[in-house]
């Protein structure tokens, strides 16, 4: 069981992530996706909004989305606290500074705006959409990488 405490290799992690698709479908009838949770929280927190994007979203019958992301937070806590040896660091130390926080805020804004405009993220488009052979999800996934490569290689922000 020692290997559990080490970082998991791709051939364990990838298939397990792929299993999210049938697990959610067969055990709850839901399609895999995370980014709609932002719209959900927005609609829930702004019940009097007149914006169609929030007004027309029926959050009461989609509460599973909150349960699902709450599960992700919980699972990540367990994974970091009980299934890892050393304290984990997923973000560079210099993000814990004013400049770093501004970077994260800007980056977060781009993530939130972008995924909602694109109608899905790496989960909903790249894993779920491509599993469902949606060509729009292929375009989405290529666009995600164009954006990431652009900022990493060209703009070097």
């Amino acid at each position: 069981m020692e290997w559990v405490l080490q970082p998991w290799p791709w051939y364990i992690a990838g298939p397990l992530i792929g299993l999210m698709v049938p697990a959610l479908l067969l055990l709850s009838g839901k399609t895999f996706g995370v980014s709609t949770s932002f719209q959900h929280l927005g609609a829930m927190c702004s019940p009097n909004s007149r914006l169609p994007y929030l007004k027309n979203y029926d959050w009461r019958s989609n509460q599973w989305r909150i349960v699902f992301v709450a599960g992700i937070v919980l699972g990540a806590f367990v994974g970091a606290q009980y299934l890892s040896i050393e304290p984990l660091s997923f973000l560079p130390a210099d993000y814990y500074s004013l400049g770093g926080m501004i970077r994260l805020a800007i980056g977060g804004l781009l993530v939130g705006f972008g995924v909602r405009y694109a109608g899905g993220c790496t989960s909903g488009h790249t894993i779920m959409g491509l599993s469902n052979l949606q060509w729009s999800s292929l375009v989405a996934s290529i666009s995600f990488f164009i954006g990431g490569l652009l900022i990493t290689h060209v703009l070097q922000f």
Binding site: W8, W10, A13, G14, P15, I17, G18, V21, P22, A23, L25, S28, K30, T31, S37, F38, Q39, Y53, L54, V67, F68, A70, G71, I72, V73, L74, G75, A76, G79, A80, L83, P87, F90, L91, Y95, G100, L104, I106, G107, G108, L110, V111, G112, V115, R116, Y117, A118, C121, S123, H125, I127, L130, A140, S141, S143, F144, G147, G148, L150, I151
Partner: protein, 136 residues
């Protein structure tokens, strides 16, 4: 019962995201710099398993454990998929987190990711405001 299953599946996803280091800014950097194959192999094998599962579900007309039909909505193409997709990709490289990993980073104890989350909520509201004017 359904919500309990969703909570367990979500928790399992959270564990895998942390243990595979998919939520690590360093892994995302190495992916965009083509320095390691880890992320590419995870994404590819996840799609292979997801696609195979969907094929089997359809081939054998499997139903949910609650005896409902399995329905997967189509994702129709619109211009936002490209524009929004590129914008998201930029944010992904900066924060080292796509939406699932934002939640996972917070749960794993990288509390600074709460700022990423707050930014994402602002971005969502911005989209909600601009949606009628944006090309789709």
């Amino acid at each position: 019962m359904k919500q309990l299953f969703v909570l367990l599946i979500g928790s399992f996803f959270g564990v895998v995201l942390v243990k595979s280091e998919v939520v690590s800014w360093y892994r995302i950097q190495k992916m965009f710099l083509f320095e390691e194959a880890h992320m590419y192999l995870i994404i590819a094998s996840a799609i292979a398993v997801g696609a195979g599962s969907l094929y089997l579900i359809r081939r054998f007309h499997l139903k949910t454990v609650f005896h409902e039909d399995v329905a997967v909505k189509a994702k129709p193409f619109h211009k936002g998929i490209i524009i929004g997709g590129i914008i998201f990709g930029i944010g992904w490289a900066i924060t080292g987190a796509c939406p699932g990993p934002i939640y996972a980073q917070i749960g794993s104890g990288e509390y600074i990711a709460l700022i990423t989350f707050a930014g994402a909520m602002v971005g969502m509201y911005l989209y909600a405001f601009l949606q009628p004017k944006l090309p789709h």
